[in-house]
Point group: C2
Chain length 157, copies 2
């Protein structure tokens, strides 16, 4: 993704839907743990995870929350959005190598205050529901088409 | 933190409260962006952020969500917990160098299904409310006192 394009309030309508997908890597799990301090061994320690009902390391539930945030920031409504609230029900674990697709669908628009409500659903590559919830976002006023920031190289080692 | 100790269901009571704190670094913002793909320039690009009402780069809202996850995983109830749901209202931005303290307080216990409800509040170093919400977690059955996983070194290049 080299450009980010937003949908300002004037371009939004109920039912508009966008999807953002990402495949979970072991590196993603380590980076999420590092930036949050969530060192739950069920995510990081294969031997420990093997003793749990999951049997193997799983993603932090809130990693799916981070994907919802990415979907809002990069897809709908995109840059210039202000995140107001999020609810999430975690339904199914995500394992290393799983691809999670977050679909956002506008369910309500309060034009006067530019507040939009988004139904959020995350499914894995097998169509299994990973998480669902609702986001509230202040939509941008102005159209923006901007270069996506390029992240520096990150080496784990 | 070298050890993680959990509170199994038998040790939990309504009103029990624990706090987890973390100071936001620029590195945390980059790692959160990398593991999620949320490259919203308001978090990553000083020049862009200066054009927004925030004036400078702010944390991803869901970074505070990740801290709530860390608080559940490391403090209350700790390892062996299963995250069921989370709601969050984002109230105030977090800037680089801010210290965010997440306080979890048990508001309800459904003993039969081991489901606990936690009131979640995040404040910054000035006592300003950053975010608040409610988490539902399946509490662990068994006591665990385990070594906290040690993360590998992460170098941003």
């Amino acid at each position: 993704m080299s450009q980010l394009e937003n949908f300002p309030i004037a371009e939004l309508s109920v039912g508009l839907s966008k999807t953002y997908s990402k495949t979970l890597t072991e590196k993603d799990v380590i980076l999420f743990a590092a930036c949050s301090g969530d060192v739950n061994p069920v995510h990081l320690d294969k031997a420990y995870a093997a003793t749990t009902p999951f049997g193997e390391p799983i993603a932090h539930g809130m990693w799916t929350g981070a994907l919802v945030s990415a979907a809002i920031a990069t897809q709908l409504p995109g840059p210039g959005s202000v995140y107001r609230s999020q609810s999430l029900n975690f339904k199914h674990p995500v394992k290393i190598g799983d691809t999670v697709a977050v679909t956002l669908t506008i369910s309500e628009i309060k034009e006067r205050v530019k507040l939009i409500t988004l139904d959020c659903e995350a499914h894995n590559q097998d169509g299994k529901l990973i998480a669902k919830g609702v986001a509230e976002v202040i939509a941008p006023s102005e159209k923006q088409i901007i270069a996506a920031p390029v992240l520096p190289e990150i080496v784990i080692g």
